[in-house]
Each structure stands twice: as C-alpha cells, then as structure tokens.
Amino acid sequence: MRTSKFCAAALIAALCPALMFGGTISGKVTYTGTPVKPKPIDMSKEPSCAKQHATPVNTETVVTGANNTLENVVVYISAGGDDANAPAQAVTFTQKGCQYLPHVVALHTGQELQVVNGDQTSHNIHPLAKVNREWNKSQPPGSPNISEKFDSPEFISVKCNIHPWMHGWFAVLKTNHYSISGANGGFSLPNLPPGKYTVTAWHEDYGTQTQDVTITGNETKSIDFSFKAKAY
C-alpha cells in the first residue's frame, strides 16, 4: 500500500512537470584560441586492432568540429535538478578497435554500467577512481560484459594498462539531466520543471564552467559555453 502510494507520487512528480511544462536548456560549446592538435595513435603493437582502422585513430583529449565547436563536453544540471533515482536501464561502454566508444559516458550514481569487449584481444578496465572504489578487471575476448556501479558523483578517468593509448571517462552524476556535446558542439537538457538551475559544462582538459538558468514554464532557454583552449 505504502509502496504503491509512493510509486504514484513518484510517477506524478516525474511525469507531470515533463508533460505540462517541459522547459529546455540548450546551446553550443565552443572554444577560443588554438587547441592542441590530435595525435595519431600507433597501434602497431596490437595488430588485431590496428587492422580495424584504415587510417590511424587520433587521440581524443580535445575533439573539435567546424566553427570552433567542442565535442565530448558533459553539460549537466549540477544544482537544482538532482534525481534521487537512477534509470533502470544500463549504460554501455564498449571497447572496439582498441578505442572506447563512447569516449565519455555519463551515468547516474547507482546506475548499471555494462562494459563490453568487442575486440579479439584482452583489455583491462581500470577506472582510476579517487572518491569511488578503485578496481581493475581483466576482460579477455569473448568474456561476459562487466557490470558495475558507482556510489558517489565523480569524473573518473578510465584506462587500459595493456593498451596505454586507450583513455576514457565515466561521468558519474547525481542527476539524469545531462547531455554530452556532439560533433556540432550542441547539447540539450529537456524536460526541466520550473526552477532555478545551475548548469555545469565539464571538459576533461579544459575544466568546468557554470551558468545559472531559471526555467519558468514551457520554454527553451539558450545558453552557450566557451572554453579557452589550453596552450601547450
């Protein structure tokens, strides 16, 4: 009885604002200055991966698009939009061609993360967590997916020690309102009930920026982030 009441309340709370108001914060992430040039990765030590790529794969520390847009930036509600519950659906992090797909994966605390090895070589998945537990697991070809969860919000650097060029990120957040900027630098945070929000944009090399946004109803607020490229 208590559970069903709670569920109903949760359902209304979750659905109604989205249906009735559904404010959206969207925009673009760009950079100024001259970013470091991506370096081609030498995978010759792992032929099974090297042969999957017609041209050398580049490092993904800074990925840019046309018109100074910046990719792989996690834009999320850092205040005002915490979600108590993680989505039941797992997020997937795939190792393919000795690369991480995607390079940055965002998930809620407690949400299931499935790590897939799509290669014909062993990988070890080593999240260098500082707040969460640090673990390190081997995943030979053909072995089952690794299922893990993280308890605390943290941007966790992930690497494969066997293939030192493999580097990615787990963005563990307290909110389900996040968006990772794509090739055009765009992001969108839909379904926001009215309220005051702090929006944070995080880039693995350029750090974080925040902006405050107030959503009053069924509207789309446009904000942009601009990072200064680090000089090397």
């Binding site: 070890n124 640090e134 390190n136 081997s138 089952p144 690794i146 066997i162």
Partner: protein
C-alpha cells in the same frame, strides 16, 4: 671538539634568530605548512585471531617506524618519499595491493597484518618481524584511521581457494595455454621476464612508472610481493593488485584453470627449486603443447566469489 661546540653554539643562535625573525614576519598570514596530524576521527580496532589491535596504542610505533615513508598523515608523503620507488602506500586512499578480497574492496585485517610482517619485496618496505603480533595488530588499526572508508565499508569477503590439485605436466601445459590466452605475456613477457610489449608503458594509479613482475629474475629465494606460496600466487591474479596495472581475473578464470596457471607460473621461476620445476624436468624439460579437451560442462560464471560475496 671545541670546534664542534662552537658550531653547535652558533647553530643554536642562528636557529633562534631565524625562528624568531620568521615567526615575527609571518605571524599574521603564515601558511599552514608541515604536518599537523589530526586526531584520528574515530579510534579503530583490528581483529587478528584472538588479538585485538587498538589504533591509539600504535601512535608511537607509527611515528617511529612508519611515518618516515608513509607520512604523519598517512598520505604516503613522508620525508623519504622523494627518493623511493615504488612510492610508499597512501593510506588515505584505502587502496591496497595485497588482499584476499576482490578488486575494489577493502582488505581484511589479516591481509594488512600479513603485509606488515612479510614486507613488500622489490620495494623499500622491509619485513617487520621485529614487532610483536600485538604491535602489528595495533598498526593495522592505526592504518584504518586514515580513510573514512574503513568506517563506512566492511572488508571484502576473502575469495574461496579450492584444494590444489596435483602438479602434472598436463596442468603445466594447460597453464601455459592460459598464460597465452589471457595475455599475461603482454606485460610479463613470453618468458615471464617482465618484458612484454606493454611493459615499458605501465604506470601505477598515481602515474608513477611501474614494472611488471619478472618471474625469472630471482634466485632460489625469489619471492612475490603478496606472499610466496602457491595459494598466494592464486590469490594475486584472482584479486588483482589494486592501484597497479595488474587486473583481477576473478570473473574470467575457472578455479581449476587458475591452479594450472599457478603451476605454469612456477616454471617461469627458472632458478627456484619447486615441485613444478621437478615435474617439468622429469618430463624432459619441455612443456608439450596443450591439446584442448572437448568441452563437457557448459560455460558458466566462475565461482571465485565467496558465498554471500563482497561487492
């Protein structure tokens, strides 16, 4: 003698003048430098058999014997740290190499107790067999005051280690096949000399360069970091060596296969006398190629996790 006295005298004066001057100059906005060990938030205990260790009783021993490397604050930043490789453990992270528990979990009190007594070979951590068991137990409790994880989490469940089967040339041969299949050689090298293709690029979780274990390096007394029995070797690759590139193989290797791998690893210690090397010698000194048996059992998840499991 006289000279020495004079030096001491002037040294003392200089020290006094400097201290007075500096403290006067910086009295207002002196940066908070130097270790100020906070009182442990909570007194911790350890339980080793019927011995109970108390953190409060280890304070002097820690400062006398441990702080020089591990630091007053347990952060691995002791005064000797810049000259050490590998670096001393940072206890504030609560990540430990030698565990009987799964990767990512806290070690048991006994794991830490054994590490202190055993020391860590190929590092500057000596064998602390001069301590009494009570002293070691107290130090284990003291180590647990440095990270809040010890208050929030329980230690992991020790892994189950089945009884070791007999060493045969077949088990060695299968172990060799696993060594290839699980790609241990990528770091440890085809002959276990620590010279695999990825060896040169390895770093620990603090970004310090680290070498994979060279099985062939030692003599008859060669040791492993986390113990030297066959069970210890079994434990190392099942649990992984947290904080280093060595991953856990708990989810990808079946218990009996793991024993075969242990038997093969022993033969890589070419200069060490072992039953495995005896079996190998009796078989003519060559490991026959492994012939895969027809799979009878369906592929299932390995059962390396203890009943009830850690997380």
């Amino acid at each position: 003698m006289n000279n020495l006295k004079t030096v001491h005298f002037f040294g003392a004066i200089l020290g006094f003048v400097l201290a007075a001057g500096v403290s006067a100059m910086w009295a207002q906005d002196a940066p908070d430098v130097g270790p100020h060990p906070p009182e442990p938030a909570k007194a911790m205990e350890s339980h080793i058999g019927n011995i109970t260790g108390h953190s409060a009783d280890a304070k002097l021993d820690y400062r006398r014997y441990c702080a020089g490397c591990h630091g007053e604050l347990g952060d691995g930043q002791g005064e000797n740290t810049p000259w050490l490789d590998p670096k001393p453990r940072n206890f504030t992270l609560a990540t430990f190499k030698c565990r009987s528990t799964l990767t990512g979990t806290l070690p048991t009190d006994e794991d830490l107790f054994n590490t202190i007594g055993r020391g860590l070979t190929n590092s500057n951590m000596p064998i602390w067999n001069t301590f009494t068991k009570q002293q070691r137990a107290n130090l284990v409790a003291y180590i647990k005051t440095f990270s809040p994880r010890w208050e929030k989490e329980k230690a992991g469940e020790p892994i189950k280690i089945p009884v070791e089967p007999a060493v045969t040339i077949e088990s060695i041969s299968h172990g060799k096949a696993l060594f290839t299949k699980l790609e241990c050689w990528k770091c440890h090298g085809p002959q276990g000399k620590g010279d695999g293709p990825s060896a040169a690029t390895l770093t620990d979780s603090q970004d310090n360069p680290i070498r994979p274990y060279n099985f062939a390096g030692g003599g008859d007394d060669s040791r492993f970091k986390c113990g030297s029995t066959n069970s210890d070797i079994y434990k190392i690759f099942i649990t992984g060596v947290d904080g280093t590139p060595m991953p856990s193989f708990a989810d990808v290797i079946q218990p009996n296969d793991a024993w075969d791998l242990v038997h093969f690893l022993r033969t890589l210690q070419v200069k060490r006398h072992s039953k495995e090397n005896d079996v190998l010698k009796a078989a003519g000194g060559r490991i026959p190629p492994y012939v895969e048996k027809q799979a009878e059992a369906p592929v299932s998840q390995p059962e390396n996790r203890a009943a009830g499991g850690g997380n």
